[in-house]
Every structure is written in structure tokens, then in C-alpha cells.
Amino acid sequence: MAKSGIIGAPALQLGATKAVRAGEKSVPTLLLAPTMIIMTIVGLYPLLHSLYISLTNYNPTFGTSYAFIGFANYARAFGDGQFWYSVGLTLAFTAISVALSLTLAVFLALLFNQNRLGFVVLRTFLLIPMLITPIAVGITWRTMMMPDLGVLNYLLSLIGVGHLSWASSPSSALASVVLVDVWQWTPFMFIIIFAGLRSLPKSPFEAAAIDGAGHLATFMNVTLPMLKPVIVIATLLRIVDAFRTYDTVYIITRGGPDFATDLLSVYLQRVNFRIFDLGYGSALSWIALVIVLVVVLVFVNLTGFLKLVADKENR
């Protein structure tokens, strides 16, 4: 496993103590101080402030005075059907989008690992979507997906596929934004998995070939287990980002039509910045934060992520 994609921290334990010289006791504290100050002031303090606001009925459109109302906002949240609908929609969106990107990325990584002439050039095209500003991605796909004037329906009509309504009908809107998300973020998973595939040792594949294993058997029993750490990391980062999707959906559908794409971030934006119900909005944000944490923890436990990290440190 020494050559696998995951890199360790071998120098960490050995060298650290002996490098500390006389009079250097406060150096690490000083070095860590700027990061800690930024984290406390810009990260932690706003979070705690948000927790406090969530216990009030603060709404700037009603003036500056507000009252402490305990957990009333949280109680209200549990009866808020639209909120839980958004949570469910966001979880579904995340699951579908990440699963599709992952499958496509693994497939593409295997394909481009063949090293044929010209594949390096073609591979560059697979990198660019994740670099495009999400707002620009939204604008472009919205143009292409226009039902009457869009180029996608035109291209489909050439091959005899009829008129699709894309993001403008409730039944296909979610699929459309999933498609955009898959288009933009499959490249992210692809380059990570591709890099992992490239750094795998050769000998297990040779052994499998000698044993006469077929392509599928080699993939299931050799490639996939060795790639697991890389896949787990790519998937975890992608889950976290898919859960907070906002920009493209804001541009393409703004949560519509008929709430078909009303993801959590879009719903929260509406509560906070249309009706300025900031106390309630803060409570909802905190619930969202807890849901993200639960999702991440479940994923980490299911995949043995921490064990992977620990193995990496011990090697």
C-alpha cells in the first residue's frame, strides 16, 4: 500500500520533538495564533451568535427590538412541512447526484487510464466544467435548456427525440438540475479517482492476470478495494458540497416550478432574505447544520473513514 494514492505523514512523529530548540517554546503558539483568531472571530463567533438569534423572534423589518422566545422557533420548525420537504428534496438531490457522478467518474477514470493516443487532450475537456463559475454554469444551461429556443431540444429533434420541457416543468425540473450538477462536478471526482488509479501498484493486476481473472473480476476484487480510500475522500467532499448547492439552482429555477427544486439553501434564502424572519431562519440553519453533521458521521462510519485516516498516519 506504500505506493497508493493516499499519502502518509511519516515525518510527523519522529522529527517533531527533536527539532524544538531552546527558546522555541512559544513559537508554535505564535504560528497558530492568526489561524485561531480568524477561526474564532469569523467562524465560531458568528455560529454562536446564530444560536442565540435562533432563540429570539428577531426580524429587522419589525424594528430593532426583539424578544427571547426560548425554543419556540425549533418547535415551529418541526411543524414546518415546507422545511422538511426541502430537507428530503436536498437529501434526494445529494444522493442521486453524488451516486451518478461517482459511477460516471469511475467509468471515465477506467476509460482514460488506457493511455491511448490523444486521450491526454480529451482528458483536459473533462477538467474544465468544475472550474467554470457556478453562476455561469447556471446561465449557460438555462440558455441551452429553453424548451422552445434551446439548443438541447434542437439537437434532440435531429435524432428524432421529441420536445422536452427540462427545468420548466415540475416533473423534469429536479432531473434537469441533477444533470447540471453531474455535468459540473463529475470532473472533480474524475480527476481525484483518476489520480488514485494512476498511483496504484502494478503487481496485484499482474497477479490477477496470471490467475486468469476477467476484466469485471479484476475490477471488483482488485481495483475497487485498492481505490476505496480515494473514492471515500472524493465522495465525502462531494456530499458536503452537493448538500449546499445553491448557485446553479438559484439561476436555473429559483426553487420552482411548483417547488420542484426547492432545495434547502433556496428555502433558507427565502425565509431569511425575503421575509427577513432571521430568528426562525437561524433555527432552521442550525437544524440544517445538524443534518449535515449526521450525514457526514453516518458516511464516515459506513466507510470506515477514520480507520483509513488512522492507517495512513500509522504507516
Binding site: 513559537v27 508554535p28 492568526p34 455560529l47 438569534i53 473533462l126 467554470i132 455561469a136 467532499l237 431569511n272
Partner: protein
Amino acid sequence: MSNSRILKSSASALAAYALAIAAALFFAFPIFWMVTSSFKSEVDISAYPPVWSFTPTLVNYAQLFTELNAWQALINSALIVGLATCIAMAAGTMAAYALARFDVKGKEFLAFEILSIRMLPPIVSVIPMFIIARQLGIFDTPWLLIAAYALSGLPFVVWVMRVFIQDIPQSIEEAAMIDGCSRFETFWRVTLPLLLPGLAATMVIVFMFAWNEFLLASMLTSQEAKTLPVIAANAIKPKAIAWGLASAAGVMMSLPVVVLVLLMQRYLVRGLTLGAVKG
């Protein structure tokens, strides 16, 4: 080789090329469409069936500056993202050095605490930031976004630079210190030059995420401090959508990131995975 084997291998080569070209087309077509749309006139862009050959015009790009006030947004974006990136790089690299080279109490816990910023959905911190900014009178100024982007860049810098620093053998530093260099001189003259490629690559990633950020930028600015993604989103109004203008804005704001990242491709994977996967 027998005939059937040659046939079989050329068939699989054909299939591989067909799939690879199809994939490249799928991922490249929307970018092609955005770029060409940005050079189309009002008539060409609303033509159906879509036109493939047309006389390119720069009218959309000119309108960016006359109608959307793109200069102001460009300056704002450059200033905000530039400063935030510098702050994150400086603070983060210092912390990374401490974590890589010193015995710090509760080091792993600290590192995971920094990593947890990466997990935090921005929608959670946007309300308190909005309220605090209004109270401090820094709403709609660049400072608020600079602070927010510096924070969100930190986990990348700390985790990636930590790995890059660990990759440099400690013995090199020790040799310099035995020769009489102070710890700072050693870092400045020995470690930093070796770290430069890693620093540049990390910087590009931090820059990319801040440059493309929209949610915080749209909610924490109203007039003065608008960034490029915010004015681009403003080109989309419910009634009349200026597609050419919006595409031009998209091209203009995506171009710096695409160029920078393609130049720094070598360390991209390491940066994106916060140092966990070697590219």
C-alpha cells in the same frame, strides 16, 4: 497474432475512442455554447434553429462595462479575493508549519477543527454575518467578504501545506540550523523556496473557490461591494433575460480560473482533496 485477436483489439480501441470522444463532447459542449453565445448578436442568439456560423460581435462585452458596471465588480472581485487569498495563505501556512514541525498539544483535534470549516454550509453563517455587519457598519463593504473568504480558504491551506511541508525532509532544515541560521532564516531561505510550487498550487485553489463564490457575495452586498458572480446573476431578470450579456459575463469571470488552474494542474488533485490524495 491471429486475425480474430487483431479484430477484437481494434474493435475495443474503436469503442474506447467513441466513448472518450462522447464524454469530451458532453463536457465541452456547454462551454463551447457559452463562449460562442457571448459573441453572438441579439438576433443570432434568439434564432431558431440555432445558428452555428455567425459574424462575431463584441457588443456583449462592451455592454458588460456600460450596463452592468463590470469594472467596479472586477475591481471588487480582484481586491476581495486577492486579499482574502493572501491572508488565508499567510495565516494558514504558519499554522501548517507549526502542525508539521512542532509537537503541539492536541494537534490532531486542532487539525480536525480547522477541517470542519470545510464542512460548514455557508447558509448557516450568513445570517449572523449579516446582523453583525449591519451593527458594525461594514455591510456592503469589501471587508466582510474578505474575512469570510479568508476563513473558508484556511482549511485548504492548513491541510495541504502541512502535507507539502512534511514532504520536505526535516534534515535539510536541521543542517541549516546547525550552520547557524535561526528558525525563521531557515524557513525563509531553505524551506520556503522548496515550498513555492505547493504554495502556488494551493493559492490557485483558494482563489478559485473565493472567486466563484456567490451565496455570501449576493447576501452580504447590495451596491458597493458587488463581485462578478453577483452582477452576472443580475443580468437575469424574470422578464427580459440578456443571454448574450450573461454569457459574456460568464466567460469573463471563468477565464482567470481556467487559465490559472490549467497552468497549475500538477498539484490540483492534492489541493482539492486537502492533501489526502497525491496527484
